[in-house]
Symmetry: C2
Subunit: 896 residues, 2 copies
């Protein structure tokens, strides 16, 4: 139904069927829209005739006649795609008015002012949407009339003025479009339908679909519905309401309404509306009816609904219902609550949760002390609505284009607008947060920000935004924030501050609903979820987030610590094997204590048993530990040029030569990974000894046996691994002999070079486990150096390149392959290696420790390929737990 | 037979069967050798008994008895592996002598001096080979006796002195070995056999096998043969002879002999022997018999033979025959002559030719004028034997270890030795040429150098080499050449010069035998052979060498030329599209004229039709065309430090910033290849226009239609190729419209990234051809940056790494994968891409343009995979033609 009728059309149809009060209407299908485009923007044969037939039925249902000068039927014409695209497409209200039918409206309502107000609104809207006229001229003329008549709002304009305005508006429309304003109501309808079809392919809509990965070939439906009026006095009104709080997930009606107003007044945020709870006092029967409808809709759709309604002279009409957008926190709470209310199953709760939203829940928030300090220092500026949760800090920017420019350059920006409109979306996409001076919790800014997972403070009336001057002033003070000044906004509280406030991590342990959801995910998923962690504190966080092991512990970070680096440099620059060994002997106790810390941390909190820990031996080229070559070069050149300090020069020069000898053209493909260990076995031997001694010590101290897995990086040929394994086994034998008790460990390798994947059958014969290093594998498979590619061309590949002779940019890659695994290429190697590895060694354990381990789409792929676990950064562990469960559900559905 | 008996044993057995005069003997098989090693260095059961039984038969045949004090049988014990390893393994002569049997020898020969000389030689040799004694002490003692008796050569030592020497030698042997010298002749035999077995695994033998890629598990046979003596007077002698001249291939007996000498005197080069043609005068009957035997052996073996013979009192004995090592030139001439003599088929001539030798034939030689100038300048030093053809220049080095050290560091060295021995081979392997003061054309130095394809001047008696002082003096002058001084040697003429003489290319057109051989190869081979050439002069050479197309014309070399580089830099640093276009407009005519030159050159000399030319659009990162960053950094730092010339500083700083902005961490994987064209389409468009306009111009001028193939580098995703193709087609349309006549071209891509190979089915849908760029494909598949890897670890991977706890080095890779394609990994991708490409686009043309295109083993693989052509450097085209024919022959044999 949604495919054909769009979300809105399907909602209206279902509500009608369920006997809810819905203004009569009909829907032109998405199929018709697509046929319209295929026919070169012509209505497909028969479509118009069917529409007219449907219109006749609406006439019968309402007892009104379209174009009738006594009892005219007025309609709204709205778009409605399969997936909600709030504010992205166009709507025309009050269609069916002309100089004759407006008289009929006067007769029907007995309200001349209302009728001419409706008429002028129609002309204004139709001109903008259908005739593509510049709306500003209409606004100016309206302001002119308000001034002239001394009216402080639209509602105060007398009927006489409105009559004149209608005439003026028609003239403006005629001048701008070069043709008389259409008086034939059927022509009005036809052209409005065409305009809705056309709105499917306007820039805003395309941008939105690109960002939200909605296909471009779905088309939009057109909903034609008889008008009801919320602006017929104070027993009329219009509003939007969620069946639950879209920010917190609480089970309560949540929304806003305006009495004596039409729908667009609420959405546009021009008048600040009342909270829905006030309706209980203002129109108690309507409120009660709305609550009952909310219950029925939730039972029907088994999801939280976002409803639009209008009250016409005390009578409630439902205009639309759809699944409500919600914050990450609300999404989790609603899903978990609905399971407990018996509305949906646990699987359904998993299926409809969005793993990337989960990630947002775990994002840092403002440090409370720092925030208190900001208050004390007088940096608090104002408070608005907490429209979308999360904290953001960045440079204030006052237009979307500038936000896009800076944001794409990596500058954190907060977009500040009087209010936002669909024209601002491209800037919102790259901002860290949104601040608006006007509009409520369901305003454009708030809805879009929640959808994007961006912090948003809306309707912040304590600031006044001057777009042209690119600044905002704080009301009642002389504080001015200009473009480029730092500000911080708290989407959880609505507070706005000057300057940057540092952030802290949220408390995962207190997220009880999330914990519940993830515990269901754990029951469903087949993939293990491990974490990448180099330090005990990371490991601790990983366990808290539910990781069942360390999939990647990088030992080189340990080398970088301040007190160790000089020893590491001594080791690298050693002139004799003895010097090198002496440095390594100094490093051994450091490494051992690092590993002790990690082994002690990685304990299953339920069973008390040790989790597996995969420790990767040293990987980066040794020159990464040495001083920077170019800095040395500059120093030496300077010392030479000035002639000062010949002793220092000599020393620096010697160091420069040593560093120069180790430099590489392409260090990514140079002397690193297992190649280091093969050339300098004493490093590998030291690391292995540190690992095994640490495991023995922990076992002795705690009585628990660490699950040690030693991993060799950058293997390309089985002989490399074979030789390293031989060396390691010798060390293990030594350590065992010294300790008098055997140390157990598994031995494995990264699969991060194409050749390793291609010859995985050979490599599997000497490995107990494989861990796919999909970062490096992506680099070598594509021939992309990530350091160079992302800045220089990769983002253009994803966003689209200027293509000479073509109107549109050409996209080379659908997604950034470093974020989501490239299934055709890199994925093919992963699948091949998994199959070959298992065939040669059925006991082999397969995991992945690249960044893709925390990406839901990639996790789905790894599940399909049949890996044993994914390993990702600790923060992404909850994401991975959920995504892994979703992958299992989707696979088992596919297999059905 | 050769497998079991080794080359020598099989030769002797065959000669015996053919009724040739061979001293009776028997052979212990390679199987026995392997069984000996398997049993932990124990004779396998029954072996010794069989040897004794065979010895009994030899006793019957010779009428002598082993160990008999009156009529003793003496034997030689020699190694003999399947593949000839000259001088690599050990031999014991005169075995069976002790204080008693020596009396029998006196009785037999009536020559006491001879008998005791044989005895002392036996003790000396047995001590060195079997008892592992230091040979120098024996030599010193011998010299002492010569001095004491006033003998100027061994032959002048009187019997009495020799008797004493025998006693002294036995004492030396006992002292060094810690046990009495064995007097039991059976013990002598047993231990000699063991020593030969052991010699299979000595360092020299292992090194030789590694270098020549001979498997280590073949084992050696042991040949036990009754002794004949060439040192029984002037009607006796010993020599070696080739059935044809191993240097030129001329059909004539070629070799040397010494009268009154034993075999090792010739091989060791201690006395300078006579040319074989002198034998016609000294022993005419023997000479005639030898000629007849040579004819019979060639008919039997259908190959040139290398024979060892001894004349004992006028009677000729054949000791050994084997296929003779020969120079590249000789190899070709012998093969072609033998086809014309009806001895072998064309296929056989192809099969037994060595493609890498062909390459040597085409190596540069000394420039004649430069050589004449060297003569005029008095730089000529001396003339020796032209022992192995070719020219070499480099630093003189006087010991093999130093040669190895410098040679591996890339320094060209010429190894200068009094004479060489197997202990020098490791140094010879890395030298550019060999110069010895002593020894003939069949001396160790000469034989090994010819085998290695190294120029060698041997027996250069005009110089005197002082090993210890690391210098040589030119006899009759005061010229001294010390270690590190440059010298040049001409292996074709035997000349030696001081200083470096520049080289020129050989004249391929005059190599008529080679031309004939290659024309047969052309008939047999299935693979096309194309060449990589960037300039018309390279293209011309390629056609001369028989290339049938250009498989890779790199356009960026054209950018590097002096007058163009400033324009290229202007193009790269352009601040506006207009500036960039202006620079490109200037480059266009240059590129067009480049392509015109190449199209005009690439014409089939037989048919007059154009050969295909694959032109690759710009590939390297643009910063390669800019000034070096570090040099700029030093300049700027210097200008800053000295405070001089603020204008220059400002300018340099701006340039530094521009260059800095373009630098990359890993340029190999950065903004290069098709990525450049996608980001800067105007470059691709200019290049395409230049190519197509050039083709049109050539067609108009010559009436011949160039076969244009435009190739896109570094494609990883089909969308990249699709977009470039779209842009190119637009240019082609424009050029066609402007010219009024259509221009034809094919469009294809390099397959040089793993992802391209993995998704070749997708890519093939938009490509007319693939060309495998196996250099880059090897880099990305292995994760090896060639610039870094070869110097830093790859050669160690191939040569072997020190392995802690192991006595031997551990080899990681069997060969350098940049020289010979890695079939398991990179080859797997090539095969996959060929199959997927053909399946998706059956018309697709498949070639390879990496360096592997000129490597015989890789060519065999490309033939098996079914590529259409290989493309290599022009010099390697003849190699590839031959190797491709061999691949076809070997495949059709396998398929049988």
């Amino acid at each position: 139904m949604r495919d054909l009728l769009g979300g809105k059309g399907a909602g209206v149809a279902e509500m009608t069927k369920a006997g809810l009060p819905v203004p009569p209407g009909f829907t032109i299908t998405t199929e018709a829209c697509n046929a319209y485009y295929e026919a070169g923007k012509q209505f497909p044969p028969g479509m118009w005739e069917q529409a007219l037939a449907a219109l006749r039925i609406v006439e019968q249902q309402t007892g009104k006649t379209f174009g009738d000068r006594h009892n005219p039927l007025l309609v709204s014409v709205r778009s409605g795609a399969k997936f909600s695209m709030p504010g992205m497409m166009d709507t025309v209200l009050n269609l069916g008015l002309n100089d004759e039918t407006v008289q009929g409206l006067v007769e029907q309502t007995g309200d001349e002012r209302f009728a001419y107000d409706a008429y002028r609104r129609f002309i204004q809207m139709f001109s903008k949407i259908v005739l593509d006229a510049d709306p500003r001229e209409f606004e100016q003329k309206l302001d002119e009339y308000k001034e002239r008549t001394g009216a402080s709002s639209d509602a105060e304009l007398p009927a006489s003025a409105l009559k004149e305005l209608v005439a003026e508006f028609k003239q403006i429309a005629e001048r701008q479009s070069g043709q008389p304003f259409p008086t034939d109501v059927y022509e009005q309808l036809k052209r409005a339908i065409e305009a809705v079809f056309a709105s499917w392919n306007n820039k805003r809509a395309i941008d939105y679909r690109n960002f939200n990965k909605i296909p471009h070939n779905l088309g939009t439906a057109v909903n034609v519905q008889s008008m009801v009026f919320g602006n017929m006095g104070n027993d009329s009104g219009t509003g939007v309401a969620f069946t639950r709080n879209p920010s917190t997930g609480e089970k309560e009606l949540y929304g806003e309404y305006l009495l004596n107003a039409q729908g667009e007044d609420v959405v546009a945020g021009i008048r600040t509306p009342s909270k829905i709870s006030r309706l209980k006092e203002e129109l108690p029967q309507v409120y009660e009816q709305l609550q009952e409808i909310a219950r029925r809709l939730e039972r029907h759709y088994r999801d939280m609904q976002d409803m639009e309604f209008t009250v016409e002279r005390g009578r409630l009409y439902m205009l639309q219902t759809r699944s409500g957008k919600r914050s990450a926190r609300a999404a989790v709470k609603v899903a978990v609550d609905m399971v407990e209310e018996g509305l949906i199953s646990e699987e359904e709760a998993i299926r409809r949760s969005d793993p990337t939203q989960i990630y947002q829940l775990l994002l840092p928030r403002f440090d409370e002390e720092a925030k208190a300090r900001a208050h004390k220092e007088g940096r608090f500026l104002a408070r608005g609505l907490n429209a979308s949760p999360g904290a953001a800090a960045g440079k204030a920017v006052f237009d979307a284009d500038r936000a896009e420019e800076l944001g794409k350059a990596g500058v954190p920006v907060v977009l500040v607008r009087p209010e936002t409109s669909p024209d601002d979306v491209h800037g919102m996409l790259v901002s860290k947060g949104i601040l608006t001076a006007r509009g409520g919790a369901t305003s454009h800014a708030a809805v879009v920000a929640r959808g994007l997972g961006l912090p948003c403070v809306a309707g912040c009336e304590g600031i006044r935004v001057y777009e042209e001057e690119k600044l905002f002033r704080v009301v009642g003070s002389d504080v001015v924030i200009r473009e480029g000044d730092e500000i911080s906004i708290d989407g959880d509280t609505g507070e706005v501050f000057a300057g940057v406030i540092p952030t802290v991590e949220p408390n995962f342990e207190k997220e009880t609903e999330l914990q519940k959801l993830l515990s269901w995910a754990d029951r469903i998923r087949k993939l293990g979820v491990w974490a990448n962690a180099d330090y005990p504190r990371d490991a601790q966080r990983a366990v808290t987030f539910g990781a069942e092991g360390i999939g990647l512990c990088r030992t080189e970070h340990m080398f970088m610590e301040q007190e160790r680096l000089p020893i590491v440099q001594k080791m690298i620059l050693a002139k004799t094997p003895e010097e090198r060994q002496a440095a390594l002997d100094q490093l051994l106790p450091f490494q051992r204590s690092d590993f002790i810390g990690i082994f002690e941390t990685m304990v299953n909190p339920r069973t008390g048993e040790c989790y597996p820990v995969v420790i990767r031996l040293i990987d980066p080229p040794l020159h990464e530990f040495l001083p920077n070559y170019e800095e040395l070069l500059v120093e030496v050149t300077r010392l030479e040029a000035t002639g000062a300090d010949p002793e220092a020069l000599k020393e620096k020069k010697a160091l420069l030569d040593a560093v120069a000898a180790m430099r590489e053209m392409n260090p990514m493909l140079g002397l690193r990974g297992c190649r280091l260990g093969l050339l300098f076995p004493e490093i590998t031997i030291m690391q292995t000894r540190a690992i095994l001694e640490a495991a023995l010590e922990v076992a002795q101290k705690t009585g628990k046996k660490p699950q040690v897995k030693i991993m060799i990086p950058l293997v390309g040929h089985v002989n490399e691994l074979r030789e390293v394994r031989r060396q390691l086994e010798a060390v293990a034998k030594e350590v065992t002999a010294e300790a008098g008790s055997a140390v157990e460990y598994k031995f494995g390798t990264m699969i991060e070079l194409p050749r390793a994947a291609l010859t995985a059958d050979q490599i599997a014969t000497v490995a107990d486990f494989f861990s796919f290093g999909t970062n490096d594998l992506t680099q070598t498979t594509f021939g992309f150096s990530r350091d160079d590619a992302e800045g220089k061309f990769l983002m253009k590949y994803v966003d689209g390149l200027d293509a000479p002779g073509l109107p549109e940019k050409v996209k080379i890659l659908p997604v950034n392959p470093f974020q989501t695994i490239d299934r055709d290429g890199v994925g093919q190697l992963v699948r091949m290696a998994a199959e070959k590895g298992r065939a040669a060694n059925p006991q082999i354990e397969l995991g992945i420790c690249g960044e893709h381990g925390g990406d839901p789409s990639s996790i789905e792929f790894f599940h399909e390929v049949g890996l044993d676990y994914v390993s990702c950064s600790p923060f992404r562990v909850p994401v991975a737990r959920l995504a892994a469960a979703q992958a299992a559900l989707s696979k088992s559905e596919k297999d059905k």
